[in-house]
Subunit: 477 residues, 2 copies
């Protein structure tokens, strides 16, 4: 792990994909595992996920959802029960054929998602309308064998939460789909990332769902990242797994089901939404280290004073995640570079000058500016700054996103440089295929606000037929 | 889930194993999954684990350990590298032979523990003595195919934490082994359970370890439950995976490694250490619901007053996990029974009499007694009670455990009713085998305090040869 040469990363403008891989490696977020397509998430990367997870878990528990844990292994025959579901997931399954020294009669898959793992049990738990709604969530590892892995965004194994709920009525279930979408959007706001909420097209929805809603966020190369999805499953799975209840009317009814998930892709989105040529830029909410203190002294001159002062500062900032970097044999410049790369929001530089002046030199990573702060004002200033930095990163990302969505009226306006655009669409599957084949992009979503609005253009930008709504289209990760 | 008949459980004295299964089912902790040997942990059971996990995570993070996540799939050839390790684990492996629609050239096992998954990467991370110590921990699911599953204690899949650390020297590594053992012991104290700390015999140690230390706790049928283990691995794995470092002396040295784990077996131990014929008894620290408020009214007489009063009480007790049980169509008696079964430490009963007298009837589950408390005194009384209840449960368990360990001097004193005893032992593997074959018990541990002490009896209770130390022996789960 020791590395004394300066860590360098490719410029975003040169090669964004390489920039992303470089930052993952040099900021010590993760690395490639021996097992194909899998990653090892290192402490600095995992802590970001744990901070996201804690906030999301609080939000869904406050909303009345309870956590549960089902086995990671699913009988293949359960997965085969819902036709669309098995079609969607069977190419990605990892299959256990032997266990305990014997060949298994019934093969097991490692869960690629847990509908098929849970709903037979749901059928036992739910008897009458009194048992509804049933609202459970699971934090779990998932395996989907990836042909083209990318750190955090697309690994063969990933960590996520998956909510699985059952309601008596369609209306209640659909209300929850939107509520969860709102929570996901808030979680991105918590990361200072604006989220575009909307509905997926028929071809892009979850395998087995009636409707899929999504939060999409923009990377700094203009591409879209699917940040979390909330599905209304209707009675598709309920009919197959017999998730039914005896109604107040004395009749049997099928439950209306939802499932919704957000994974550590969100860490990838965070990196891509805020990072710059110097490395990560983390909003304080999800920064493993919110403040780094770098004591500066030449040889041993002033060492004790400076270190004591640093320690005192750290103790006065107990409500934050603070680290003193007193590693020997590294220059201040080397340390500055390192912590900027790791995206620490606030750096306090302390030399003898600062000690004698009862002040600190404060560097903020969001806009790379320095200011001098009197120690007596420090707590107040930092309290302001954690909000300012979060707001500033949000604003910057919001302006970037808004300015990188073009309006397109016709097929001829699209060229290979196009990354994310809005257009009026006929919602015709064949036309989406054409776009995918020619420009490697598909619809990302029908934005929430456009669902009940007429399109800006009456003619579909691809087919020329009648357009139904204004949609977002983008290249994506 | 709705169930209006009264839930009944077998008496401990009649059939302890059945009592355990009944309580798991009726207190809605977990149930048997479709996949053989696996369990589904329901919200009430999982919350207990989450409370244990949060405390343990805090303890190890405070000690400087960082969390990491490695893939759940391990190349079989890695598992085969350490001879004792593969012998210990290969009979229990679940093997993935196909993934992404293709047969794998290199078969993968789902991690039965992660030494073989992590240490090749450790070898890359560690170059010089500056990189040491390396102290990482992982919260993960584990698969070990069980022939005789038992809820929480022995499922084919379970959740745990596994710490994996590397030190430059044997002394430092061994210090940590003891420190972690102390943390595990504290975690049981947090659950009001006395833990017996000690060293495992050669035949009972972890496959691949030099030394295994354990915390053992006593079930209320007198049997032992292994509650967590802390292993000194020496350089066994380091030599195989080349976990080595360049020392200050310029020479290459192998790292001294530890691994240590505590799983949701601890939930099983909690049930077995405190439960009684009426159900669970939970110490407040790990109770998903610490206080249940049962409003009592006949028909609609007083309903509003009583419910408002209950709500006001709940709001005044915000620092606790409080639930109001206002389910209709259930008698107070039914509810009392239900929450006693679920082990809720404190119950507040509120009827019109309580409302008009500005008081509550308070029931504590640890000793099943009632008291009347004035509302003005309630916060103070509950603050005392959470400590009192925890202490009382601990005392009771400590006295029970101490009084159920017999001292045995010779083989002839053992009979089939013997469950847990202390004896002076020659530490001879053959003699342990004999004990196992005849009485289905093995050594549990050499208690910490006995390591540097002469045995009480010079003669081994089995062989009559020279005894080395006083050991604990027990039947176990």
């Amino acid at each position: 792990m020791s590395k004394l040469e300066k860590r360098t990363i490719t410029k975003q403008s040169e090669d964004f994909s390489q920039w992303y891989l470089d930052i993952i490696r040099e900021a010590e977020l993760a690395e490639v595992a021996e097992v194909r397509g899998c990653g090892i998430v290192r402490p600095y990367g995992l802590k970001i996920w744990e901070l996201i997870k804690a906030e999301l878990n609080k939000r869904i528990e406050d909303d009345g959802v309870e956590n549960v844990y089902f086995p990671s292994l699913v009988p293949i025959e359960n997965l085969e029960m819902e036709k669309d579901h098995v079609e969607g997931f069977s190419p990605e399954l990892a299959v256990v054929t032997h266990a305990g020294g014997e060949e298994l009669t019934n093969k097991l898959a490692i869960r690629p998602t847990s509908e098929a793992a849970m709903y037979k049990t749901y059928a036992k738990w739910i008897q009458s309308y009194n048992d509804l709604p049933l609202r459970l969530n699971q934090w779990a590892n998932i395996v989907r064998w990836e042909k083209r892995p990318r750190p955090f965004l697309r690994w063969s194994e990933f960590l996520w939460q998956e909510g699985h709920t059952v309601y008596a009525t369609e209306a209640e279930a659909k209300d929850e789909v939107q509520k969860i979408l709102g929570i996901y959007s808030d979680i991105y706001k918590f990361m200072s990332i604006p989220a575009y909420c909307g509905k997926k097209s028929e071809s892009e929805k979850f395998a087995g769902a009636v409707e899929t809603y999504t939060v999409e966020v923009m990377s700094r190369d203009g591409k879209a990242i699917q940040g979390g999805t909330s599905h209304y499953l209707g009675t598709n799975f309920a009919e197959v797994f017999d998730v039914s209840y005896l109604g107040a009317d004395g009749e049997k009814h099928f439950g209306h089901q939802n499932s919704w998930g957000l994974s550590w892709r969100s860490v990838g989105a965070l990196i891509m939404a805020h990072g710059d040529d110097n490395g990560l830029r983390l909003p304080p909410n999800v920064a493993p280290i919110q403040i780094v203190i770098v004591p500066i002294f030449k040889d041993d001159a002033g060492k004790t004073e400076v270190l004591n002062y640093a320690q005192k500062l750290k103790e006065s900032l107990k409500e934050y995640r603070v680290k003193i970097d007193d590693k020997p044999n590294q220059t201040p410049g080397f340390k500055f570079h390192y912590w900027e790369l790791k995206g620490v929001p606030i750096r306090l530089e302390i030399g003898l000058q600062e000690v004698s002046g009862d002040k600190v030199t404060l560097f903020r990573r969001d806009n790379n500016t320095k200011e001098i702060v009197l120690t007596s004002d420090l707590k107040k200033r930092i309290k302001e700054l954690v909000v300012e930095i979060a707001d500033n990163l949000y604003q910057e990302a919001a302006e970037f996103s808004a300015s990188h969505i073009k309006r397109i009226e016709s097929w001829d306006e699209i060229d290979d440089s196009q990354v994310w655009f809005e257009a009026s669409w006929s919602e015709d599957a064949e036309s989406e295929k054409k776009l995918k084949e020619r420009f490697l992009m598909v619809s990302r979503e029908l934005p929430l606000g456009n669902e009940n609005k007429k399109p800006n253009n009456k003619k579909c930008f691809i087919t020329g037929k009648e357009a139904k709504h204004d949609w977002l289209f983008a290249k994506s990760y």
